[in-house]
């Protein structure tokens, strides 16, 4: 046999021979005779093995080929945010007992995973002001799509109204999830939320995709007066200081959990928070952990209400979700514990004040304006004197990752996000760079 030895597989040729003898076959190929001969042992055209040291060097080069927030000042948001993550988060989730454990179907040997999931459900409920929560969905967008389908099941209505200020990325995922079902969505213009009688729910985002606050009490009342559920996608960082969706009578609340304790990681893995009123519990998708007692009367935790789930209910399940994001939910749990009552509030306020400072500085730069009036949290829209894509290119040359190009939604619009990680120097440098870029254009025009 060949000489390459995998550090992850212990079988030596002697081990293989011993086992093949015990099985009663002459060679390993005898075990694969069931595969049609013409397709057996195909050529595998992939690279030779790479030593750990060489592979590390190669992957480091790949990582270094990216413009990295941190090394670059970053003002990019649009659904994912750069926040400080205390070291304790990585330290705990790196423990093999959490990292390499299985889904807790055997509760006696999974109490660590189960109890931390119960903590997660608790924190999500406290944060959102809701009564029950699951252990997490893939991300904020899939959570919102599943919430829409859940609302349709609960109300037995087949239309989903989406407020036009919801993220276009979220809308695309709702489209994916609903395309094959007898559920249709329609977009409702802000300010004229007219709902059909067969609308299952109104979906809104708070703060909305543009960073601004919606009038939630009014929207909630609007949905409920039509017999529809009120479904909110809420930013978890903002909930450190802003009213919780429970306070304005939301029925289902979802969040993109990335902002609380999860690295940006180029889009995933993230975690979707999912919470609702208790009366809707049995239509909730995903895993749920419950507290109970063991045969000796001691407290313990188990997966519960599994009859909603695919491994029991098969095609009649509330969702097909199986492997979800337990470890990422744990990251959020540790983050929220470390922040605690005071930290959550303080991070939210830091974002708020810094974003407002940035807006005030940029607004002063000739050629730039803030086209949307209203209260924003950590993100706001700037109207630029030239296409944002061009501006961002020039900013990148100066070591700044600019805002999100939303010129499709707002002419020459740029969505700028500011978090506690952005220093005053970075914000001032951004304003100065924007000024320079605009004056370069003005000079070229003259």
């Amino acid at each position: 046999m060949d000489r390459f030895s995998s550090p992850y597989s212990p079988n030596t040729d002697a081990d293989r021979k011993k086992m093949l003898d015990a099985i009663g076959v002459k060679s390993v190929d005898d075990l694969f005779k069931v595969i049609p001969a013409q397709y057996r042992n195909p050529k595998l055209n992939i690279p030779e093995p790479t030593a750990e040291m060489d592979l590390k060097r190669e992957l480091e080069a790949m990582a270094n080929a990216n413009a990295v927030p941190g090394k670059f000042a970053c003002f990019l948001g649009g659904g994912a945010y750069r926040h400080h993550i205390p070291s304790v988060v990585k330290a705990i989730i790196s423990r093999g007992e959490f990292l390499t454990s299985y889904t807790p179907y055997q509760p006696e040997i999974s109490q660590g995973t189960l109890q931390t999931a119960y903590e997660f459900q608790t924190l999500v409920c406290q944060l959102t002001g809701m009564e029950v929560a699951n252990t997490g969905m893939y991300d904020g967008a899939t959570a919102l799509a599943e919430a829409a389908l859940m609302a349709a099941r609960l109300t037995r209505r087949d239309k989903i109204a989406v407020l036009e200020t919801v993220s276009p990325k979220y809308l695309k995922v709702i489209q994916t999830y609903s395309q094959a079902l007898k559920v249709n969505y329609y977009v409702v213009p802000a300010g004229q939320e007219k709902l059909d009688d067969d609308t299952a729910c109104l979906l809104v985002q708070q703060p909305n995709f543009y960073g601004y606050m919606e009038d939630m009490a009014k929207l909630s009342e609007r949905a409920h007066s039509q017999g529809a559920l009120f479904v909110v996608s809420a930013d978890p960082t903002s909930l450190g200081m802003l009213k919780s969706p429970g306070e304005y009578d939301a029925d289902i609340v979802v969040s993109e959990g990335q902002a609380v304790g999860v690295p940006l990681s180029f889009g995933g893995p993230y975690t979707g928070f999912f919470a609702c009123k208790e009366k809707h519990l049995r239509q909730m998708p995903g895993r749920i952990v419950g507290k109970t007692v063991d045969s000796k009367g001691r407290t313990g935790y188990v997966l519960t209400l599994q009859t909603r789930e695919q491994h029991i209910r098969r095609e009649k399940a509330t969702s097909n979700i199986c492997t979800s994001v337990a470890l990422i939910a744990l990251m959020s749990t540790i983050y929220m514990s470390a922040m605690g009552k005071q930290g959550m509030k303080k991070v939210a306020e830091l974002c708020y004040h810094k974003a407002h400072y940035a807006a005030s500085q940029i607004e002063k730069v000739p050629g730039y304006s803030l086209p949307i009036k209203g209260t924003f949290f950590r993100e706001f829209v700037v109207k630029c004197p030239l296409p944002p894509a061009e501006i961002n290119k020039k900013l990148l040359e100066q070591g700044i990752i600019g805002g999100l190009d939303i010129s499709k939604q707002v002419p020459n619009g740029m969505l700028i996000a500011v978090t506690e990680t952005n220093t005053k120097e970075e914000i001032d440098a951004l304003a100065a760079a924007l000024k320079k870029i605009a004056s370069g254009v003005a000079a070229a025009k003259r």
Binding site: K18, N66, L99, Y138, D139, P269, K341, H353
Partner: protein, 494 residues
Amino acid sequence: MTITREYLDQNNRKLLMDRSVPGRMGTTLPKLDVPAAPLPDKSMLRDSLEFPEVTENEIVRYFTQLSQLNFSIDTQFYPLGSCTMKYNPKLHEEMSFQPGFANIHPNQSAESVQGALKLMYDLQGLLCEITGMKGASLTPMAGADGELAGMLMTRAYHQSRGDLKRTKVLIPDSAHGTNPASAAMAGFEVVTLKSDANGNTDLEALKSLVGPDLAGLMITLPSTLGLFDTNILEVVRIVKENGGVIYGDGANLNALLGRVKLGELGFDVIHSNLHKTFSTPHGGGGPGAGPVMVGERLAPFLPAPIVAKKKGDDGKDAYDYFYPPQTIGKMGAFQGNFGMFIRAYTFIRLLGNTGIDKIGKDAVINANYVQSQLKGYYHLPYDRTCMHEVVFSAKNLKKAHDVDALDVAKRLIDYNIHPPTMYFPLIVEQALMIEPTESESVETLDTFIEVMKTIAQEAKDNPELLHDAPHNTPNTRLDEARAARKPDLRWKKA
């Protein structure tokens, strides 16, 4: 108060909110370095947030103690069928936490993330080569999400041809529960397909179910019985002749690595659970990642975005996002679970062609070795060469000693081994599905075999020992009925 062991154990498990002391904090935050802005109107602000107040040390100790109540790959053997719980290399974690990967933003311009896009492009290529498929999208976020993507592509394919009558998807009776759930989410009617006495697809049953309403077949190969379906070429032929799409559930792909490519057998679309075959850690139930690989006829429908290579202005390779012309859309807000792509890529590249080639071989040797040694001690419903997993049945123990699969599973815990998959596949009574994987040594397997024989003996001698198992865990058997009847799902003020 009397201090007993019991008291200390329960005290250690007190919840965060019950440990909270006003004024404590677990981290520090920077001072505000800009002028404060006026706060929003009071009607928008919350009165208070009821969150724990604990110090960092308290957090570390609490969560570390909880972690020690778990079994895990790093601490125990997990012969858990269909779940492919293999070793998770440590290099993977280090590589994915590099700032150049962990800190990049999903909305950055393609030109500013060329390293990340190259990794995704190369992984797409490696997965296609390993499975014999033509195109890939990495975006589905778990195996079941890949199934949904595959089923939506199946639907989009038929619709693009104006073939609107195809509403039925066939799923073998041995399939995972995610298959029917995913097919239903994609709007299909699910029809169960029988297995024959040898565990293969029943060809007569198949023939009776195909027709102009057939959209496709979802099949796991090897099946969840741990068997390679020797009728597979015939199955593929019949489904394709009747206009159906062949979906391969990649849950058991590990067995076939290097031995056969599903694309060459005629599969149209498969998903791969990166956390199974490519060794990204299971994390107590995720994150997963479920890339889909397709043959030519489904390629235009792949979920978006995928990564394409082109020549840049400087003549060098450049990578960019590509939206397939008839894409079914996006599976999540961004481009998938990138952190998992790094781990899978690292695994494939470290092992390379020769290492990957050996995975299937060693996984199958290990499973057949266990089968050969436990035959006679446990009932073997399908007595033939198995693939990477073997399904035994505890029905002999149930009949003779009233000991069922669950009792055997729980007793294994006392011997520090994670139980096999139980009661699944549904067509095997009292199933115990054992999958050792290639990362376990013959010494570990021998210990496991001895333990399983011992348990079979204990079932005869002392069945009560098994009924009450496990004996040495932080909790004995938990009251699941009570948990479901009176749901207690969050901390509440006492």
